[in-house]
């Protein structure tokens, strides 16, 4: 058992960049839940944190869009966005190339990941790190599932990838924390920014927390796009965490729809067997 912690959090850039414009009480409940997740993660004494994100054309463009990518560097950089816009200062983030390599080789037994020896994090990873490793003292292993530019991998491959990550973690002595970040329903960077399908989110979260594999794999992209926006494609990151903790359930620490953050702000922890 070397996966020691698993959770999911939202990552929308408004969470830090437009913090002052949110309803204070809802925002502070969300921030408090993030802090709780951080403390609980620290209690598990991880050696490294795998962040499964869904980045937004910061590193990966349609000239070579990987379905799955894992970072393999001793240091990363971020945010790539304007520091004022995101309200996070640019900095170097520690990685662990050797540990990445061991994980990548193991994951490659079943999933065809790209690897990246440099990576400029966007808000998709920086916002979670801002709350979960505020001192930037934990080596991060960035992982990406393409959820932006179709064609996208089917959900069952996101599941297979989560299983492969778990298998890789369990094969090494290091203590690994895993955090997925994405979704849930949202229409980011469109005129519908701020729209949130609360009912859809609640049903999805129920299925996710129950780790209901059949229900989770039952979503189709057409339906998700219609009901949960193009931002809903990012449920792939949640599915990978569910797969990595298959058979276990989770606990919801926060779900707060905050329109100016453009997403139902979510914090949850999954039990690790």
């Amino acid at each position: 058992m070397s996966l020691v912690f698993a959770g999911v959090v939202s990552h929308a850039p408004g969470i830090t960049g437009r913090a002052q414009r949110a309803e204070p009480a809802a925002r502070d409940r969300f921030y408090a839940a993030l802090d709780r997740l951080r403390l609980e993660m620290e209690e598990t004494r991880p050696d490294a944190l795998i962040v499964v994100g869904a980045e937004h054309f910061a590193n990966f463009f349609m000239n070579n869009m990987p379905s799955l990518c894992i970072g393999m560097s001793d240091h990363y950089e971020g945010p790539i966005e304007d520091e004022q816009w995101l309200a996070i200062k640019r900095r170097r983030i520690p990685g662990n190339a050797a540990l990445s390599r061991v994980l990548i080789e193991r994951v490659m037994q079943s999933c065809d990941v790209a690897y990246a020896e440099e990576w400029k994090f966007d808000h998709g990873i920086m916002v979670p790190l801002h709350f979960l490793t505020p001192r930037y003292d934990l080596p991060v292993i960035p992982v990406n599932i393409n959820c932006q530019g179709p064609p996208l991998i089917p959900l069952h491959r996101a599941w297979a990838f989560g299983k492969a990550l778990r298998d890789a973690c369990d094969a090494i002595p290091e203590r690994i924390a895993l955090v997925g970040t994405g979704g849930i329903s949202h229409w980011p960077a469109t005129p519908d920014s701020g729209k949130i399908n609360v009912e859809w989110d609640q049903q999805f979260l129920q299925r996710f927390l129950a780790n209901d594999r059949t229900a989770l794999l039952g979503y189709t992209d057409a339906q998700t796009h219609r009901e949960a926006g193009q931002g809903g494609f990012e449920i792939r990151t949640f599915l990978s965490v569910a797969a990595a903790t298959e058979g276990q359930t989770g606990q919801l620490y926060c779900y707060e729809p905050i329109p100016i953050f453009a997403v139902g702000c979510t914090v949850a922890r999954m039990t690790v067997a």
């Binding site: 437009r18 937004h56 054309f57 304007d82 179709p150 960077a189 005129p191 519908d192 219609r226």
Partner: protein, 123 residues
């Protein structure tokens, strides 16, 4: 870049043999490269025409980028995760950026291609 389809329509063979060349890819590539490179942004600010000349763009695209007409770029199908940063680079505050997209829809009609063809319909 081919138009977004949730599932590929089994189009007849003949249709697949003459897909149009789209330059939307080039518009998006420009923004991607601006986002990644401070040097590229500096060159763009200093001599926009010179930078734009290195991309294959239609007259409409060129004008929308130059002006900038964020609303038209949205209607053209530029991915919002790219367009958001171009709007910020050109000085649009958040609310002005959202408004520009709404104005674009009113002025230029529905989104032509990409992820957002159906967006807005649920508002």
């Amino acid at each position: 870049m081919s138009a977004w389809r949730l599932t590929s329509i089994a189009s007849p063979r003949s249709a697949r043999l003459k897909a149009p060349v789209m330059s939307l890819y080039q518009v998006q590539k420009l923004i991607y490269e601006l986002n990644r490179s401070p040097e590229h942004r500096q060159r763009f600010v200093a001599d926009r025409a010179a930078v734009l000349a290195t991309y294959e763009l239609t007259a409409e695209e060129l004008q929308a980028i130059e002006q900038p007409d964020i609303g038209l770029m949205y209607v053209m199908g530029v991915n919002g995760q790219l367009l958001m940063h171009y709007a910020a680079l050109r000085g649009f505050e958040w609310d002005a950026y959202i408004k520009a997209m709404r104005d674009g829809l009113a002025q230029h009609g529905a989104v032509r291609t990409g992820l957002y063809v159906a967006a807005g319909s649920l508002s």
